[in-house]
């Protein structure tokens, strides 16, 4: 296979996706803009906060804008402060007819929205047994990633930096360890504030990235969505092509061991 081929799909829980860019739906100025951005970056997985959608309302703006079948709507449990709340939200979403996929977010701290590892693991165990495809949002903690994989999570989604911070892959070293150990797709989620950040995560070997704030709050969200798509494709191609490692110093042009030849 051509090593730079972009055709190699992303597979999550047996389902195949051509796009490695997942997008969020929050913070946009309208549901229509959100839809145009999702189309512009050819996203196939779109995450929707259950707290923002009205599952009882068939005319819900957000779900209406995503209608058409092209997207996997990935409900998330944003706002859940413990495992019980997250489990309850997931079950309500499934009961309302959404597919049993869940982006598990347990963030008891509303300021930084950092995930609670214990509650996330507890909720993941219950939801996996309950038949959900579980994609947990976590700190870049390699041991936690292993544990979540062991209980049957379909992916792990370590954060690059706190949600909405736009700071990039600040957890690089830990994400590297997660990538080396994981047997499930690793989706770098949160903190990616520029296309170059997304490219960096993909160059490291991430299976995919999830972006919301950087696209939604750009002056032109649709154009920014396109830019992220190019960056993700470019980063993926670079990883497959085999990046030469960076060096700390220049290579001496008069090597010390040259006499050995």
């Amino acid at each position: 296979m051509d090593p730079t081929s972009l055709q190699e799909p992303l597979v999550i829980a047996g389902r195949t996706f051509q796009s490695r860019l997942l997008v969020g739906t929050g913070k946009f100025s309208s549901a229509a803009t959100m839809r145009r951005a999702a189309d512009a970056c050819a996203a196939e997985i779109v995450t929707v906060a259950l707290r923002r959608v009205d599952l009882d309302n068939p005319q819900d703006d957000m779900l209406g804008a995503l209608a058409g079948g092209r997207f996997l709507i990935l409900p998330n449990t944003s706002g859940a402060r413990d495992a019980d709340e997250a489990i309850r939200l997931a079950r309500m979403a499934r009961a309302a007819g959404l597919e049993p996929w869940i982006k598990l977010e347990v963030t008891p701290d509303p300021r930084w929205l950092l995930p609670d590892p214990m509650e996330t693991l507890r909720a993941a165990e219950v939801l996996v047994k309950d038949g959900f495809v579980v994609m947990p949002y976590i700190q870049a903690d390699p041991v936690l990633a292993r544990r979540l994989e062991e209980v049957g999570c379909a992916t792990v989604m370590p954060l690059g930096a706190p949600i909405g911070s736009n700071k990039g892959v600040r957890t690089r070293d830990s994400i590297q360890i997660i990538l080396e150990g994981a047997s499930v797709p690793v989706v770098v989620d949160a903190g990616l504030g520029a296309p170059s950040h997304a490219a960096e995560a993909m160059e490291m070997g991430a299976s995919a990235v999830l972006v919301n704030t950087a696209i939604a709050t750009a002056r032109d969200p649709v154009e920014m969505a396109r830019a992220f798509r190019l960056a993700v494709e470019s980063g993926r191609a670079a990883w497959r092509a085999g990046l030469p490692g960076a060096r700390e110093s220049a290579e001496a042009s008069s090597p010390l061991t040259g006499f050995l030849r």
């Binding site: 929050g26 959608v53 402060r81 019980d84 309850r88 701290d109 704030t213 939604a216």
Partner: protein, 374 residues
């Protein structure tokens, strides 16, 4: 340590003096920082900073956009009772005022809620005057249970309660408490609250701590601006909000800046707050507390609300009636304050769209409420 002691140690008068002596270079330094300290807030609230409102507003806009996105959450109040035992000089509900008194029955209150639901609201604020006889805590719980099945978020703005009462309301499905200290200045507080249960400054000040301990997910602080110089109140609000964030780290903290205009029988605020002051206070608060919700009610007139949308506001009321039964059986003589922005919810939603933001009707879920577990 309680917030009351923390506030005493902070020594507001000396902080205000320090703020008044800040220079424009202090303001510039504060504007250049990512994480602001209290000294930076002093600079942003200073007279010198009143000449830097444009850069403050620009930075407030950018921070709010990053943290909250291009969205404004809409909510509406239900006034369940205007019976009140307090004698607050500035309030129409005060016991000495001759206004028609009403306490809604559960059915009447539910009818008000249904009206709001039909308008599109899913975030509802339950408001009441202070009369434990007419509107006991159990009556709020009963209303919450009735409307919980469709309401995404239920917040209470009622007299201060005991911790066990807040816990009872959390179990019924309440998500938050809004409680303004009115003024953080003890002396002025005593002057404007001469009698009744409300005369106890400390009991009111500690109410949000009791609510936080009881598990309320959202705590909303504020002062009734105009009773005391605004700089001092703004500092106290900031200290209170950050203290609550630290001690109740699971709860979302929001701030409000209700301005007193004119009250009953010719009441005039002693320290009126100008539009410029309001903008300075609001943008300084956003820079100091990037994660705090900022709430803007219909007390403010339409033209000002239009202009404030991009300056850090995260949440607005719309189409509000401030008398019990105001939506389904209006009688404005019983209103708490005069609503300045009389536009309908649909008009406000359109205005938000025109400003380039999305009006959000639902940003919470009953599944996140402890009351849903039952």
């Amino acid at each position: 340590m309680s917030f009351e002691l923390h506030l005493r140690d902070a020594d507001l008068p000396s902080l205000v003096r320090e703020s008044e002596s800040c220079t424009e270079s202090d303001v510039e330094r504060a504007l250049g920082k990512e994480h602001l300290q209290l000294v930076d807030l002093l600079a942003l609230l200073s007279p010198a900073a009143s000449r830097c409102l444009e850069p403050m507003a620009q930075r407030a806009r950018a921070l709010t956009l990053q943290r909250f996105g291009r969205t404004i959450l809409l909510y509406a109040p239900i006034y369940v009772s205007n019976e009140c035992t307090n004698r607050c000089a500035y309030c129409s509900f005060a016991v000495q005022n001759d206004v028609p008194r009403t306490t809604l029955t559960l059915e009447q209150a539910e009818a008000e809620a249904e009206f709001l639901r039909a308008e599109g609201f899913r975030h509802v604020l339950i408001v009441s005057g202070e009369s434990r006889r007419a509107a006991p805590p159990e009556s709020f719980a009963a209303l919450i249970r009735r409307i919980r099945p469709w309401a995404a978020n239920l917040t209470l703005e009622v007299y201060p309660l005991e911790e066990r009462e807040y816990a009872m309301l959390v179990d019924a499905g309440a998500d938050g408490v809004t409680l303004y200290q009115e003024t953080y200045d003890r002396t002025v507080y005593a002057q404007v609250h001469p009698a009744g249960r409300k005369a106890d400054y400390g009991y009111r000040l500690a109410a949000l701590e009791r609510a936080g301990r009881a598990g309320m997910a959202r705590l909303n602080v504020g002062a009734l601006l105009g009773l005391h110089p605004w700089r001092s109140e703004a500092l106290a609000i900031a200290l209170h909000a950050s203290w609550l964030m630290k001690h109740f780290w699971r709860s979302q903290v929001a701030v409000s800046f209700p301005r007193l205009r004119h009250g009953p029988s010719g009441y005039q605020p002693a320290f009126p707050v100008s539009d410029r002051d309001l903008v300075q206070m609001m943008t300084a608060m956003r820079l100091f507390l990037p994660d705090a919700g900022i709430v803007l009610s219909t007390r403010e007139p339409a033209h000002l609300r239009n202009a404030l949308i991009p300056m850090g506001v995260t949440q607005m009321s719309a189409g509000s009636k401030t008398e019990p039964g105001g939506y389904t059986m209006p009688c404005e003589e019983g209103a708490q304050f005069s609503v300045e922005d009389r536009r309908s919810a649909a008009q406000i939603a359109r205005l938000i769209v025109q400003a380039g933001y999305e009006p959000v009707w639902k940003d919470w879920d009953r599944g996140l409420s402890r009351g849903a577990a039952a």
